[in-house]
Amino acid sequence: MDKKMNHSLLTFYRSLLHGLFLNKKRHRLIIFKSVIVTIIFIFPTLCNGSDQKPDTLKQLIEMYDPTGCRECHEEIYAQWQNSHHSRSITGIFMERYLKKGPLSVKSPKEATKKNFPCFKCHLPQLEKATDTVAAEIAAVFLNNDRTTMKQLNISCMVCHQDKGIVHGLPEKNVMYGPKAEKEYPEEEHMRVKKSPIMKRSVMCGQCHGLGPNLEFEHPIQCATLYGSYLHAYIPAGGSNTCQECHMKKADHTCPPNFNDRKEVSERLRQALPLEVDTLSYRFQPFEKIFVSTIVVKTKVTSKAGHRIPDG
């Protein structure tokens, strides 16, 4: 329950107690009303979980903390830690945009969610939080608090809950996976339902870019990868999904990992084969004038599902 609702309830119960002592004639009616009100407020909370938006950065971090998943999903967790999803807000120069330009603020306290359109993809869970949290995040960037930055990322619940459904809204207290799982005891694990999009490119396309994001007051444009996939790769006859190339055997590293330079070079080598043909001859521009000439022809072909490079 949010703070306003809590305050309303407290006010109501104070007036209830006041009525019990001073107005005995209305005693039974007041008790009846209080029972009804309590049921109305508490019952939905028990069934559907709290609708309260995280009001502090600490609450937001705890809501999306992936360490609880590690106990049973150790290998996937280790893969994820090596992925760019685990460091989605470091290295994006957010502090520069907060200092200068249309997204800048004079102090962190001024920041609201509107100052972070980039987080539509780099930290989508901020949408669930209040502007107070946005102000705290501004302070994190402007103070270069890298410890806290590392706790803000695309963690398990972002994909396996928030982004698990595109037709309609995700259900509360439900996780989504490539298949439905057996029922777990409630205290151990949320119910897992099958997501119809988990293995489809649209799953990745929710964040990996169609082009300009025109819904913001200050539009932004970052990756256009999914747009390239839809409008260049598919029309040219491509048929692989993002996952088939970037999550083979459910590898949650989701390569490329640009911190692994050898892996990136090898991946690009496979994706962009190069042919080199040469011709050498003596060119004669005028009689008795000879110029030795070499002609080098290069041909690069792309096997990737999108333009390279993108961004």
Partner: protein
Amino acid sequence: MPHSTDSLDKTMVYGPDKKLGIIRDTSIQPFAPKEELFEIKVPEPIKKVNVEVNFSYQLRPGDTYPIHRIVKKISIEAPQPE
């Protein structure tokens, strides 16, 4: 790479807070081979040349990922005119 502008004029810009469209795209596209031709004049009397082709991905200036390195040994031979 995509050459993006802020859609207010024809100047290329950097930064997601400024980009709002693509005016030109020199990226390597899926299933669309890119060919280039290089002509190199070789001064006399050089007869043998090593041609080295390096293909790399530059993330940022100074931050380069090597992709291909192909070396070809070429002999420039042609009958001399009488």
